[in-house]
Symmetry: C2
């Protein structure tokens, strides 16, 4: 038997232990001591638990709200089968598509379904096309992990670039898993590209997209090179999903920090495997970071400091530069994944889209 006194003493000690959560303590001295001990040898970096306030300096109020938003609820969705994937995709697409007409109207842009080379697309263009852009044509590949964003729902970035840049844009509604895994999406994109280069001079053309669309942008150039097709005059791979595997430092450093993707181990990693099917995730048309970037057109890249894909973006930037390609990197303070085009009224959205438009204007013929 143990005396009540002993029990209470032990219980208090243990409870103090439980309550001792260094990163949450105001006691910097204690945290620093624990951290110094935990990081006194080479190898794994130990990082304590944290509560992090959103940034305010140099960040608009609209963007502050986006940065401080909760995790998006789907981050940890793990659909069990094709039916569950389809239900998830439909639910999100229906909700997103509802906002598109108002967005198009706001930017005085028309969105017209068209079919190119048998592939469903949208022709997105300003109601009055600036003379300077008359002979220019952009091709947009949307994001969504190769599974989200069918139909109208993912035309947002095309509308923004048509609106802020005054460009005519073909947005490709490529086929996706679960029904159509790799290479359907890339086959569709390349089929459209082959037709698109007959609709305008490739010297007056660019390809752009964010996240999965950024990865596809890079993969399309790799494949166009391999297939001896004309290349675009510029590309804008925004926070590109350049590596579908769990490789890249920010997959760890920004895990649980990014409020959009949150972690590779959520729906994102599942989507990678669903898309790849029997293919190796590291095949360059899936993970373009493993491809050869020599001969690529000038590229503008955009990401945020909290982005789970920060490393995808900077690895791509450096690899482009090492290949002798002009590449312009833009990193937004505090933003998680692709938050630079969430709110059309945020100054950062205008800034990011205008930077891309200016970059295209500089590099495209007309």
């Amino acid at each position: 038997m143990i005396s009540r006194k002993t029990f209470v003493a032990v219980a208090i000690l243990v409870c103090v232990g439980v309550a001792y959560r260094p990163a949450l303590a105001d006691d910097y001295v204690a945290v620093a001591k624990v951290q110094a001990g935990a990081n006194a040898n080479p190898g794994l970096r130990h990082v304590p638990e944290k509560f992090i306030a959103g940034p305010t300096a140099g960040v608009s109020l609209q963007e502050q709200a986006i940065i401080a938003a909760p995790y998006i609820p789907i981050f940890n969705a793990h659909p069990k089968d094709a039916a569950e994937w389809k239900a998830l995709v439909s639910r999100l697409a229906d909700a997103a598509a509802k906002n598109i007409p108002a967005l198009a109207k706001k930017f005085d842009v028309t969105v017209m379904p068209i079919t190119i080379a048998g592939v469903k697309c949208y022709l997105v263009q300003p109601t009055v096309l600036p003379e300077r852009n008359r002979h220019r044509l952009l091709v947009h590949v949307h994001g969504g992990g190769y599974v989200l964003g069918p139909g109208l729902s993912a035309t947002r970035e095309a509308i923004l670039l048509a609106g802020f840049g005054g460009f005519k844009v073909i947005s490709i509604d490529y086929r996706m898993p679960p029904d159509f895994p790799y290479p359907a999406a890339m086959d569709d994109a390349m089929a459209v590209w082959k037709e698109a280069v007959k609709m305008a001079d490739p010297k007056n053309m660019a390809i752009f997209g964010t996240s999965t669309g950024g990865g596809m942008t890079l993969a399309m150039v790799l494949r166009a090179k391999d297939e001896h097709l004309p290349l675009p005059a510029a590309i804008a791979p925004g926070t590109p999903w350049a590596d579908l595997t769990d490789t890249g430092d920010s997959y760890k450093t920004n895990e649980w920090v990014d409020n959009i993707l949150v972690t590779w181990n959520g729906w994102l990693g599942d989507a990678a495997k669903l898309y790849a099917g029997s293919h190796d995730l590291k095949e360059p048309y899936l993970s373009p970071i493993y491809g050869d970037f020599r001969g690529f057109p000038p590229a503008i890249l955009t990401t945020g400091t909290r982005d789970l894909f920060l490393s995808n973006t900077v690895r791509t930037h450096r690899k482009l530069r090492r290949a002798g390609v002009e590449a312009d990197l833009n990193v937004y303070e505090g933003q998680s994944h692709a938050e630079y085009y969430v709110n059309p009224d945020a100054p950062e959205t205008k800034e990011a889209m205008t930077d891309i438009a200016t970059f295209f204007d500089k590099h495209l013929g007309h």
Copy 2:
């Protein structure tokens, strides 16, 4: 009295509680659940404790070793008085200075003490100056939190740029606290700049520096503007200490991740206050992010994804761009603060220095 059985049961339960450290568990499901709950509302982001392996993909073995190194021991130094600061500064400077002759020899560079406008400097130049750089002159301001790096010890980056770029460099050994707080360092730097612009055409000149040297580079241009002095033709503020206050998202997101600076609350914040003395840390000559960047020369910026100053760097980049200044941002995978010039043999060091040299070559007359 409590039975031994009850005690053991309670102890086990409590110990299970103690052992339950979600971020360390392999059980992703449990961590995700805790995280989803903790981040279900707007506001502070909760991030669990982590152990993070260093990146390998696209990172040289030399740089991998730097990234995986323990925290530098001084991160948590808090010298109590001037004597303790001086002892710390001397110890580090003596150790660093010992490596300089070998480094200079390796790069076939001479390092000569000179005095310019009464300020101690070093003239750092290749033993054979390339014809193209004959009429060019760079000015270097070193890092070290405005307190570390006196004398030879902080000429490393000047030697690297003389070596990799073939440039003639004046490296300023400006006065520092505890004896000489702000504005001594800036006064020295400006005195040298006023003389230097008589030694070469400012159109053929650039200013560069890393960390504190990056902040000073920006502050020197602010002050040159205010004093109607000639501006350099280009600048390279490497991971600039643009904000001496604890402001910027990566001061939090990369706290305890960066193995060089580790935290603003270590020696770094103390150094800021020591330097500023009675001045507001947000005065633009101390924290140039609060200055007006309009009219700045083209700038190349360098940082790493784990850098405590990632936000300092990207905030500076964006503010330069918003002011209409050409600005080229480079972010290295996995690197903590200023690790791009630690190891002269790392390919990333050559890459970063060569990029800066190429940028200068593009923008400087000759």
